[in-house]
Every structure is written in C-alpha cells, then in structure tokens.
Symmetry: C2
Subunit: 144 residues, 2 copies
DNA sequence: TTAATATCGGATAAAATTATCCGAAATATA
DNA sequence: TATATTTCGGATAATTTTATCCGATATTAA
C-alpha cells in the first residue's frame, strides 16, 4: 500500500508530533532510534518533509525537528503520504489497465472507486494531533 | 497498491481468460503484445501462474497458455494477486507500526480494517469470466 | 571568535524489483 | 524419426528503491 519510505515518514512525523505537543524538539538520532529506522535514510526523508513544510528543522546545538503546535491538528496523514509517495495510489486503474470504458466499466470499478475514496477520506480526516494522542497510550508501537 | 509484476499478471490472466472463453490457446508472444509487456518477463510471470494452477501451459507447436473454460467462473482476481504479491496487502498495520494496542487503536484503525475487507471482498468476488466478458466491450484497455 | 553540535546536500553503495538472454526440454507434425 | 515450435529454468543485467558516507553549512554557547 505505502512504500517503506512513506511508512518511515509517517512514523517519524507521528513521533515528532508526539514530542511537539509538549514543545519538545527532537534530533535525527532520537527519531531514528524511536522508530527503528536507518539514521541517514531517515535524514533524507525528514529533509523532504521539511521542504514540504510538514515539519520544521533547525541546525546546530539544540537543533532538531519539530512541528508548530498550532499546526498539529491541521496537518493530515494524507499530506505526509502525498509528500512521499505522491498520489499514484489514488489515480489510474487499480489493475493497471488503460483507457477504460467509463460507460461500461469492469465489475470491480465502482468498488475500487469507493475503496479509494474511503482511503483518501480516512487519511485526509486524520490529523497529527489526534493520531499522536492516541498513540501516547502505547508508545512502543513505533518501534519493532 | 499492486506491484508492476502483479498488474502484468492480472492483465495476462484476463487476456488468456478472454481467449479461453472460445477455447483459444494463446502464445507468450501474443500475450505480451496484447498487454504491452516485456516478453521474457511475462514468461516468468506466466510460469508462476501455471505453477499455481491458475493457468495451464503447453509446450511445442500449437502450444501456449489457456484456462480450463469450466474454471473461468471459479478463479478470482484475488487468487492472482495472492499468487504474485502474496497477502502482505491484507496483513499488518497499514502505517507500518508495531504491536498496536487492540484495545486502544489509532483513529484510523477501524477504517483501515474496513477498507481492506472491502478490497479483499472485491477481489475475491470477481471471477475471470465475469471480468473478461465486460472487458470484451473495449479490448484496447489491456494495451497502452 | 572559537569550538562543538546538528541538519543539509551531494556522491556512492547495497538490496530489491523489473527485465533480458539463452540453452534445455517437451510437443506437434511432416 | 527429424525438425520446427514453444514453454521451462537458470544465469545475468538494468532499473528503482532503500541505505550509507562525508564534507558543507548553520547555530549555539563558551
Ligand atoms: S473499469 Fe475496471 S479495469 Fe477499467 S479502470 Fe475501472 S477498475 Fe480498471
Ligand atoms: S491502530 Fe492504527 S497504528 Fe495501530 S495497527 Fe491499527 S492502523 Fe495501525
């Protein structure tokens, strides 16, 4: 469903969100350790997310990553997914066919449309604050 | 959603199904040409599908691939997907988290469960005959 | 101003996926 | 039986994805 890169991205974002609730900035090392991901690869992902203005970064001592507390309830999981995996998950024929006849779609078409709408809606209506709060209950879920 | 390999596999299977309706056996070349896929790579996929008893193959002149006409309404798209991509699409946390707390799931959990059930159900209730018949209306869909 | 810290950004490398090549094996038919 | 045809199966190659390395840049604090 989502690429490995995207899953790291989601987990990292959720971890940062958790800390940002309490105005704590976290370093690359802390993040990678918390979500059990390769440090340097995680750095690339965080860089991308920072460029997309989903997280903000700061160099130097006491630096690290954070998310503006005010934005926590405004940033959705869908934004993270789109930033990393693009929106190919939501476009085109799920079966990989071409130029399907809209007037005589295959028996699965309507179901696929509905499934993707649900997925899109689920991701779009889940903000970082809401998800992070619920994950507080069991922090270990981010780690293997 | 599905790997490239899996999409080739689905398209190839549907093309064979279309021909098998009329007891026509098709060759590797015909298939690859019809679905616009790399010949040798398609051969590997067909080999796998044959091993999984989804299609049957025959060597030599007049050889090729076919599907027992009687089985056309019994073979589902889900069987094809599982043969090629396995069932990772249906298992584990969609976000890639670990050991989620079943009693206090994240806000997306129930939605993900529902989405995957729908997907699974859609694929499992679509048989080759039904889909192939509908695709007869616009054969070009298999090709770019 | 200097030194220490932490992300940035470009170059590589490893691993997984996708794609190609070619001889072997099986089959039809002449 | 001999030959042409077609899939099988193993080795190899190209591409994409995932992962690592390291010097440059920015920031903090002494
Ligand atoms: S009708 Fe079926 S094959 Fe065509 S785009 Fe929709 S899902 Fe794909
Ligand atoms: S609760 Fe959320 S995070 Fe946990 S398994 Fe379900 S979807 Fe994944």
């Amino acid at each position: 469903m989502f690429s490995k890169t995207c899953k790291y991205g989601i987990k990292a974002t959720l971890f940062i969100a958790q800390k940002s609730q309490f105005d704590e900035r976290v370093s690359l090392k802390e993040i990678a350790s918390a979500i059990d991901s390769p440090v340097a690869f995680t750095a690339k992902i965080l860089q991308l997310l920072a460029k997309e203005n989903i997280i903000s970064s700061r160099k130097g001592p006491k630096g690290g990553f954070e998310i503006d507390k005010v934005l926590l309830p405004k940033i959705t999981i869908k934004q993270v997914v789109k930033a990393i995996d693009g929106d190919s998950l939501f476009n085109g024929c799920a079966l990989g066919l071409y130029e399907c006849n809209e007037k005589a779609p295959c028996p699965m078409h309507d179901n696929f449309v509905s499934i993707r709408e649900q997925l899109s809606e689920t991701l779009a209506s889940s903000n970082l604050l809401e998800v992070a709060i619920n994950l507080n209950l069991g922090l270990t879920v981010l780690k293997r």
